[in-house]
Each structure stands twice: as C-alpha cells, then as structure tokens.
C-alpha cells in the first residue's frame, strides 16, 4: 500500500515546457499547476483506480483548461472549475470503456438492498481514523463508477448537487439516488470493518 506522496511523479508535460500559452498574470500559472495537480491526480485516481489513466486524464484536463481559460469567470474556485472539467473527462472515459451503462434514467430506489435494519451494536465508534480512511478508500473502488463520482464530487469536493449533476451530465434525481446508494454502501463497509475491529 502506498500513496502518491511517496511515489515518483513524472512531470505532466507538455504544460510547463515551451513558451506558455498562458498570459502573464493569468490564473493558471505554474504555481497554480503545482498546487492543483496533486488534487486532480488524487481525484482522478479515486475515480478510475488506474494511475496511468488518471495521469492521462489530468493532462487532458490541463490542456482543456488552458484552451478554455477565458471562460473561467471566477464564480467558483479554480479547483472546483478544474474538477468539473476533469469530471467530464472521466465520464467520457467511462463511456469509452463501457464498463457501466450510463443513462439518465433514475434507477429504482435501493434495488441493491442498501436499506439495512440497524444492528444491535454501535458499528464503528472505536474504529481507528487511519483504518477508517483505508476502509473508505478501498470501498470507494467497489462502488459503481457513477456512485463513486457522485460521492467524490459532493462529499469530497463539496460541490452542491446541481454542480455535481452538471459535471456528470445526470439529472438531480439520478444524482440523489447515486449519492444515497454510494453513501450507504460506504456506511455499511465501515460498520462491517468496525464490527471486525471490535470483535
């Protein structure tokens, strides 16, 4: 198990090389790139679970952001704006790989049985925080792609539902169901881990 912080990170050329197309004083400068690249890499890795793909998507995101920099109106933070661009790249990747049928038809509520009557024991009250983060990190990989994207955008990136729905290209009713499912699956994973840890 390792983290990006400990891994060698190849430069995501060609952005920092050659004459930069970004005018001096523009919001996407070298400092911004250095600051936001790890954020985007983390988001992309959590979404696609493959480092090589994540790196490609992040590079595409920077290219798209540079081309569209004039459309950044400052209504959101640079992070939110670029995560939105990256999200669309990730959804395109999902579509290309067809690992999940992407529709905008709201699924039936709770068809996967995430409704679970509460158990008699408090689930995870003594679960070590670092272990809890590892459990959640691993469990994110077990969500469907769209559930994962919904959780990443709303619960980690703290986008509101409308922003997240726009970034994913789904209607708010669909996003609500994806969030509901994803959150309860993560809750159950933590409960299970807590029960095991406390057993």
């Amino acid at each position: 198990m390792s983290t990006f912080a400990t891994m060698p990170m190849p430069v995501t050329a060609p952005l920092p090389t050659a004459p930069s197309p970004v005018p001096q004083g523009a919001i996407i400068d070298d400092a911004a790139i250095r600051q936001i690249e790890p954020v985007l890499m983390g988001f992309a890795y959590r979404a696609v679970r493959r480092e090589d793909v994540a790196r490609d998507l992040v590079q595409e995101t920077f290219m798209a952001a540079l081309e569209a920099k004039d459309s950044f109106a400052g209504r959101s933070t640079l992070r939110t704006w670029m995560v939105g661009i990256l999200s669309r790249k990730i959804i395109d990747f999902y579509r290309r790989t067809r690992r999940e049928v992407l529709t905008d038809i709201p699924p039936e509520p709770d068809p996967l049985g995430t409704f679970a009557p509460a158990t008699a024991r408090a689930p995870d009250s003594r679960l070590d925080p670092a272990l809890a983060m590892r459990v959640v990190e691993k469990s994110l990989g077990k969500l469907t792609e769209l559930e994962r994207m919904a959780v990443l955008l709303v619960d980690i990136e703290q986008m509101d539902r409308d922003e997240a729905g726009n970034a994913m290209g789904v209607q708010s009713t669909h996003l609500r169901v994806l969030l509901h499912r994803g959150r309860h699956k993560l809750r159950k994973a933590l409960e299970d881990a807590g029960l095991q840890a406390n057993a």
Binding site: M1, P117, M133, Q158
Partner: protein, 66 residues
C-alpha cells in the same frame, strides 16, 4: 410519520440539507423514537465525515488494485 425505510431514504438528503422543513421535523421525531434508525443516522454521519476527510489526503493506492 415516516417509517424506517422512508427515514433511511431521507438520511442522505439530510446530509445535503435537501429536506423540506416538515420532513426534517418528521425525521427528527422518528430518530428520537427509533434506536435502529438513530444508529444508522449516526453511522452515516460518521462515514460521511471520514469520506470528507479524504479531501486533502493523497489517495491510498491498494497494491491489489494498482
């Protein structure tokens, strides 16, 4: 009144502040009288906090996945 399944469905909405006022009250009442749903609410909020804490943490790469 909300039953347990309706409560379960409302818990995620409540995290986003997306419940109308009257449903917030019904939810609060149900959680006071139903220990099972109250535990589920507590557990969901705790896992929500753990997920949120990943925001500025580098992802943990699982060797089995990588």
């Amino acid at each position: 009144m909300l039953d347990c399944r309706q409560t379960h469905d409302a818990l995620s909405d409540s995290l986003d502040g997306a419940l109308p006022w009257w449903k917030r009250i019904l939810l609060r009442v149900h959680l006071r009288i139903c220990p099972g749903c109250a535990r589920t609410d507590q557990s969901l909020r705790k896992s929500h906090d753990v997920v949120a804490s990943l925001r500025d943490a580098p992802p943990i790469i699982d060797d089995e996945e990588a």
